[in-house]
Subunit: 408 residues, 2 copies
């Protein structure tokens, strides 16, 4: 059997929930999208929990799962998730922490682990810390919600097996230690960062203002939940696939590179609402001639979702559909096409949600079910049933006659 090529098209945050004032339709149900519907009509549809039911996927964990990696295994500790959440891209070798802004007294006793649940000024405090150099290690630091923040250490010879600095209760043991031989450097750098955070923050104007208002100063950072990202076996090593990606967003590009894809720069593919859809489609077609697996991420739907803009999202869908129509015209049916989203970003939520995403697969050896439209409900009635994101790659490999036999 001839092995087929695979084209995976992920429309970031595309899927949604029904919206009352728009006839209880989702943006996908409201949009005119003949190309998407054609993929559903000539193929097999289903619903996909990208991570697991009830888990809200981040774009990073979602893409890891879509490429067949178990995000629960790839991610180590809470730090990397906090970092990803804060938008600090992680490379293998980096060590990431979840942090609190906290209050210590002059003898470094922790008075308040959350600095009075500080809400204002954490962006300025973070800016004062980020970019710091500790020997050959660079610090990246970014605030999260309230007193929370993310810390990433980037440099040679780091190891995430270090204990928390955060004592988890009021007290004064603010000392990280190596949990395995080889992690001593990381513990030392981390302790120096904590001590420097106190030096820098205690006199920061945000804290001067807080003192005036009688609020506890956010005069130290307490890191915990150290984690790194494991060096991933590439898709080429795993499945023998030559892979390339068309993506605009840094985070997604980063993950594509981590799993061994070539990620050429596509002029006009910005990852924004102004992205050049046509350029993306043409780039994908070009790559299909020399790669086995081509991945395309279109970010715009997610942005419209975050903006809570129903009509904007419908427009994005119709724009993507036009691009898809051009791509479909140039592709013979030997190519296996998967059309899906990495997560839902409902306009009513203005953020990612745990709702599963629709999926349609056409081409190759696919069985054709009776589904005629590509949307959240139509897809859920298809022959694929309800699958997990991690199952998508194996299913595509099977449909493309690239799967391996287990047993005899």
């Amino acid at each position: 059997m001839t092995e087929k090529k695979i084209l995976m098209i992920v429309c970031d945050g595309l899927s949604d929930r029904p919206v009352k004032q728009f006839d209880n339709k989702t943006p996908l149900q409201a949009a005119r999208k003949p190309a998407m519907d054609a993929i559903a009509r000539h193929g097999m549809s289903g619903t996909m929990d990208v991570i697991a039911p009830g888990v809200i996927p981040g774009s990073d964990t979602a893409h890891l799962a879509l490429f067949g990696y178990d995000p629960f295994k790839v991610y180590t500790g809470r730090g990397p998730i906090e970092a990803a959440g804060a938008g600090i891209p992680l490379d293998p070798g980096d060590v990431a922490f979840r942090c609190n802004f906290a209050t210590v007294d002059g003898s470094m006793n922790v008075i308040d682990r959350r600095a009075g649940r500080i809400r204002e000024g954490t962006a300025q405090l973070s800016k004062a810390l980020s970019g710091m150099k500790i020997g050959d290690v660079t610090v990246q630091f970014k605030e999260g919600s309230e007193h929370r923040a993310a810390l990433v250490l980037k440099g040679p010879g780091l190891d995430w097996h270090v204990s928390d600095v955060d004592p988890h209760k009021e007290g004064n043991t603010l000392q990280a230690r190596a949990l395995v031989p080889g992690a001593e450097k990381t513990a030392r750098v981390l302790n120096e960062f904590v001590s420097k955070s106190n030096e820098i923050l205690r006199s920061h104007e945000v804290n001067v203002d807080r003192a005036k208002m009688g609020l506890p100063p956010a005069n130290i950072v307490l890191p915990r939940g150290a984690g790194g990202i494991r060096d991933l076996e590439t898709l080429t090593a795993r499945y023998g696939l030559k892979c390339a990606a068309v993506a605009g967003v840094t985070l997604v590009k980063g993950i594509c590179r981590m799993v061994g894809m070539d990620v050429p720069n596509v002029k006009g593919a910005t990852g924004g609402l102004d992205t050049d859809y046509r350029a993306k489609g043409e780039a994908a077609l070009g790559l299909l001639s020399s790669y086995d697996f081509v991945f395309v991420n279109v970010k715009a739907g997610d942005i419209a979702g975050h903006d809570g803009d129903f009509k904007g999202k419908v427009q994005v869908i119709e724009n993507i559909d036009t691009m898809l129509g051009l791509v479909l015209k140039e592709i013979h049916e030997g190519v296996v096409i998967a059309l899906t989203a990495d997560h839902s970003t409902p306009v009513s939520v203005k953020d990612h949600s745990a709702d599963p995403v629709p999926l349609a697969i056409s081409g190759g050896g696919v069985r054709v079910d009776g589904v005629r439209e590509f949307d959240e409900i139509s897809a859920s009635l298809g022959a694929l049933g309800r699958i997990r994101g991690m199952e998508l790659m194996p299913i595509l490999l099977g449909t493309a006659d690239r799967a391996k036999k287990f047993g005899a």
Copy 2:
């Protein structure tokens, strides 16, 4: 609630993909099969990934999963299954191999890995090897179909982590080696067996006769697929089921024996296209009177799939259906019937594929959905949804009111 009996009918390789020149139908969709459709119509249908999505099942791993065992935990190479199929009972600690009779020249170069696909005389050759002693290790050896055979080493201190002797292509590296510390003895004994097999076989009268006929001599045995048996808890121990199987193929028979089924010989059940369907059906009915769980494997669909013969596969389906019709006539609805396949063997692929298989369950306490036909697409729209092979036995036990309560 009275416990019901269970009849599991596995049509080997039955499911398929749509074929363009036959109106985009699968053989199941094209065949006239009133009995299969009746099971679907009076029961509940679904789609089943026998191992996991995107994994192409072997017949061995598939049947383990269908009987409720995790093939990833149980499976240790092909050897033990070949031995079970050949009727050599394995004890924990034994090491089993799948072997070929092959042809080597005077310098031990492999000339033909299958000794001209020898069919005649392998029983005599096997007898000449079986019972051999190598130190404290006893050799058991038994022919299989054509050039195939099973080797079991029995003795203290053996370990199945050894490499294949079979070079898998014509060549002369006929040397097993230990893959882990502790397997050196096994590698040594195995190499001595191979060398002795050459000494004994090269002058054997079967080979003298073959030489006269100008056929390549079966003058060496090439073992591969070393494995031991993890002590499998039988279905009887696990579920309290008295079990029997009707199967023609050695491999499947072997697995049935491994999980504790009685496997009576059924006259005419050959495992080939010429199998006596009626005899199989009657045997199953007979066994149902004294066993709780009766398993039937019909191999013919897989063969037609491997041959790429659409019309032949349709004919096989209609033949199986006639047999099923006779069985259904004699069975009261208290019996839980499961109709499925162990994997797909699409005529367009001519080999196993990763496509899931259809499943229909009727009888007992089953809920009845609206599915009216037994085929890949109709089944996928049924109330069972998409399940894994390992979930089938628990579901059948539940439907037959034989499941255990977990909790209070």
